[in-house]
Point group: C2
Chain length 669, copies 2
């Protein structure tokens, strides 16, 4: 049946591997055809490599695909999702039934167009936005190394990444490559699907660099091999594992859509179903004679055996764990349960702030909070995109630099915000850590899709974003966030915190640390603010997103809602209005998302029925959720400017007087 | 006075260059000290190189710093702004007075913390967000090559970029490097300030790659030299110019804060004023004995001569232009005035659509519009981040592939959205082109800060963003934009268009093309929509941002506001409501920003006083600007899912019935 001499020659190299790989190819053809959408080319091209990886190298137990010391496998070119689903199904991962494969890309299935974290065990991260799988895998490899340092004898696994040209063209790919090379992550191994094809045609339309040379320049161990030759692949992976001081690249020369007589090696194999006719022709060429979605028993058995291959290693590890002196702590870290001392640390920090109120920038308050809490949280791993002294992300307990020689709890991510975001996602996904990382709020733009993936995956990555308004002053409009709060609040499932004083900053940190199912973003000021929360209490008032900070007068003629550095401005305006005989309530709203999640009666009580004014030194966009009209927002209409902060507040009309004027206008009406 | 033997040895190499460079160092010290904020280290470290560049190589005329065939100089590490301001002042650019230097970083000055395009001639682009200056310069170099092809004899200049480690760590830097190498942009020359220092300390904390080797792997000509040796720098720039087939890197080993006895070579020289004492010590070490902001007459004269050096070349070019057969067209292209045939092309396309209404996806309508207009617009340059067949950005008149061998009007940007955005900004800034480039709307995230810079610079870059909602279907939540429309609308000075049918798509393209002072972003559908605009008229109704598409019944009981693919859904709902005896107005709102710019009486008329419902298959965030409450928005509350589009609309409740139900509820109340 095999007519193509190329296929025939490949098949002879290792008929067993070839037949097993064809199971992946056949399922990919069938599922994409059934869905009438999807990407058959990459799974067909990478099937041989994936098969040899699972057969010979990947430490994986299909009966427990999430045991802690497993190897991680990340499919960074997520459009090749049928490769991963096929592997999980064939190896026998419980949830990945043939019905799920049949329902590829359908409502309610776990087999989404691109792999979605949480849909099935064995999907280590959500991929599809190119480059991020690789960068997330770098975070996983960093985790492995640090956790191995902390728990000797319990952690020793590899992180394998499959990826295509797109992941290497995206800038974040290079950020990840550079960081991994810098840190010498020797257990990170890339399998690059070097198929010379991109959506717009041959890669030569846009991509002509020497990828191995680029990675070698970044401190990588590099190899090239035939991606359809299982013997060569096996040898390359073996060599990659043997190199422990550098991450490894294996550039596999492959044919996209391998087996498809009329589409293999062309862009037409990439993103459209082969269809019945070409699918049948491909199966014929591959010598595959089974019905759609049929895997013959012998191959099915072999794949199940591959899935069971890691069982002994897993049980041996469990035995080792049971006898390990750090077993309890290790499992606590894996579970994400906070340590015993944490509550007391929070309580103590609260007490101290009430005893000695702090008039500091909220970035400084953030550092104080971290200082107070980090000692009790060994899972906390910090870092900054080269703005440590500005972000104030380094504290005594999180001070050991993560270096090539010794992994530590503080990571110098370099000027790589996007790479940082994705690596932090990897730190969470790997298990064992709560990562936070800093940059300027305006550069959340660079990291934005990584933040989005934290939210989509529902994981508790923490973003520390300082210099959160025109209040940063002289650096000017390129560095002044304006629309960033609005645009971040618009991301579903992300808690955006903008605390107004040191106490709120502590509270927001506490919420962020406890919330392991939702990312948090802290917007923090460069400039100082007074501590407004002075009444001692044990309740985390920020946890409801908004609360009444202060009431002035017996009536409630007007409500001022503010966040962050403008909270003290609201208090000043309220005092001025009270002096004129008005009753004013000041609502602090450090987190919209948490407030919106409160019951209606709470929200109604906080917002009240009196006219409302919102005050925030940022775009007005979105505030009409809480106030009646755009005119009731004291904020920014355009970009900032370069000047001292006080001048900017004056020039842009974010002043006590502006609040007072608007309040009077509202009450006149 | 020079005690430091290092400085002394450098000085001996070329005392003239050294003295001229010290003018830059002194001004940088003084201005940063006066502002009490800023970055003295980089200007002091790069002063020698900048001086030799301006003295010996840069084709520049201070009397007319914006003449078309000048060399471009981009300071990608924008925090070194005092380097650029010093150069413009010293060479005699009119606006850059000593008063401006004294007012560095102050309200109303043109000397912002980071260089702002438009503040002074000679500032070729806004920089500060790292990596983007480099990527924008790549766009400029692409422009030069294409324009030289179109206008033989009129265009022949270099693009020089200064940049630091940060620009090379940012992923966008690699995107730009890879693209420039791929296209063989031989007139692009990078001067890399390789000073071994980053904000967090020595670069070794986060960056240890072999930069020249990385760039060589990407097809660059690379050199290394002592960045304080004018002879070596001169030779290196000369060699870089001689290499015309590849872009060139000159890695200059420099000392940050060169001259500062106690801070040179350390991170403390980077981002804080030297202060009076250290500033004085630095001047002493450099042998500089003048008062703050004083430039001695002999050096001032020499710098003015450098500024006048290009005058003859400029006037010779003007003479050549005057005699050139394409002079009129060249100057039209430079001016940004649209060609004569353009209006007629628009009118013809309108007529055709009215004559034969098109039921197509708006991405297809976009291609039809481009097809209709591009023939009359030689300045239109297209491209896509490797999604040509999906974005439908390629049309007959914009079909010639921009390649290494021959520059064309269609650019394969590769999977590099951010690099594409910045390169397009460079195409605009260079002059002569109207660029548009495509990707999926969800990946606007990757390009976001580039879009922001288009808006901040007030330049007319056009973003074509297709697959604009859950309507893209099976690719799933990683590919479905949800919060993107809101987050883009929040960017000041950006027109976000979401046309509802083929006619609106044409109209929005027309607005985007005409608007050269504001970027435009087209959000376009994957799925088909009927043409709703059927009544023939010459007026571009989209130009007011929103208008009454249809009125049902004689009363106005309810107003439905919709955009894009949901416009036809609003029409269906209106018909259903009319059938129940209600009067309904359907408002189409393709562009919020244009609508908000209309006079109040127009806005009041369009919005009306009846209850309003907004319909958009995207995050509800921000729609309370136009409707009374969140409940009046038919939209998305969370992320999407992987399934056929129709199913998703049903499951997420974006249906005719949902609109009808809400309308009835509102009218009951």
């Amino acid at each position: 049946m095999i007519k193509d001499p190329f296929i025939a020659s490949k098949e002879k190299l290792d008929p067993n591997n070839f037949a097993l790989a064809n199971c992946i190819r056949a399922l990919s053809i069938d599922a994409v055809n059934a869905a009438n959408s999807g990407h058959p080319g990459a799974p067909m091209g990478m099937a041989d490599a994936a098969t040899i990886l699972y057969r010979k190298h990947l430490t994986f137990d299909a009966a427990m695909p999430d045991w802690p010391d497993r190897d991680r496998f990340v499919l960074s070119n997520g459009h090749a999702s049928m490769l991963l689903y096929s592997l999980l199904h064939l190896t026998g991962v419980e949830d990945m039934t043939m019905d799920q494969i049949r329902n590829f890309r359908q409502w309610g299935s776990i087999t989404a167009g691109h792999p979605e974290y949480g849909h099935a065990k064995g999907i280590e991260t959500t991929t599809g936005p190119l480059g991020q799988g690789l960068a997330t895998a770098v975070g996983m490899a960093m985790s492995e190394r640090l956790l191995a340092e902390e728990f000797p004898g319990l952690v020793d696994h590899h992180t394998y990444v499959m990826l295509g040209d797109g992941c290497l063209e995206e800038g974040i790919g290079q950020e990840a490559i550079s960081l991994a090379g810098h840190l010498g992550l020797g257990k990170l191994i890339l399998l690059y699907d070097d198929n010379d094809i991109t959506i717009d045609g041959p890669t030569s339309v846009s991509f002509s660099e020497n990828v191995p040379a680029r990675l070698a320049a970044c401190g990588w161990h590099v190899q090239s091999c035939d991606g359809h030759n299982p013997l060569a692949l096996d040898a390359a992976i073996t060599a990659a594992k043997a190199e422990t001081g550098m991450p490894s690249l294996i550039a596999m020369k492959t044919i996209i859509g391998f087996g498809s007589p009329n589409r293999a090696g062309t862009a037409s194999a990439h993103g459209a179903p082969l269809g019945e006719e070409e699918g049948a022709a491909a199966k014929a060429a591959l010598g595959w004679s089974y019905a759609p979605f049929e895997i013959p028993a012998d191959l099915s058995k072999k794949w199940r055996d591959i899935g069971a291959k890691g069982r002994d290693m897993r049980t041996a590890w469990e035995t080792k764990l049971a006898e390990h002196p750090q077993a309890v702590e290790f499992m606590r870290r894996q579970s994400g349960i906070l340590p015993e001392g944490y509550d007391a640390a929070v309580a103590k920090a609260r007490k101290q702030l009430f005893a000695a109120p702090a008039k500091v920038a909220t970035r400084k308050a953030s550092q104080m909070a971290l200082d107070a809490l980090a000692g009790s949280l060994p899972e906390l791993v910090g870092g900054s995109a080269d703005l440590t002294g500005s972000n104030l992300t380094r504290v005594e307990a999180v001070d050991s630099q993560y270096s090539r020689d010794k992994p530590g709890r503080y990571i110098g991510y370099g000027v790589r915000e996007f790479g940082m975001a994705a690596a932090m996602n990897g730190l969470v996904l790997h298990g064992g850590f709560i990562p936070y990382g800093g940059t300027f709020l305006v550069f959340s733009d660079y990291a934005r899709n990584g933040i989005r993936l934290s939210a989509l995956m529902e994981i508790g990555t923490i973003y520390v974003m300082t210099h959160d308004s025109i209040g940063l002053g002289e650096d000017g409009p390129t560095h002044q966030p304006i629309e960033h709060l609005a645009s971040l609040r618009a991301i579903p499932n992300l808690n955006v915190f903008r605390p107004g004083d040191a106490m709120e900053t502590l509270e927001c940190w506490d919420i962020a640390i406890r919330n392991r199912n939702r990312p948090s973003l802290m917007a923090l000021s460069r400039q100082g603010v007074p501590q407004l929360r002075l009444e001692e209490s044990d309740e985390n008032l920020s946890a409801k997103g908004a609360y009444i900070l202060r009431s002035y007068g017996s009536s409630r003629d007007i409500t001022l809602i503010a966040t962050g550095t403008e909270l003290s401005l609201a208090v000043e305006a309220a005092e001025a209005l009270q002096a004129e005989g008005l009753g004013v309530v000041v609502v602090s709203m450090p987190c919209w998302e948490l407030f919106d999640a409160q019951p209606k009666n709470y929200r109604d009580k906080i917002l009240g029925t009196a006219p409302r004014i919102a005050i925030e030194a940022a775009s007005k966009f979105g505030w009409t959720r809480y106030v009646a009209s755009e005119e009731d927002i004291i904020g920014m209409d355009g970009f900032g400017a370069s000047a001292p902060a006080e001048r900017l507040y004056q020039e842009f009309g974010i002043t006590k007087q502006a609040v007072v004027d608007r309040a009077k206008r509202l009450l006149e009406a």
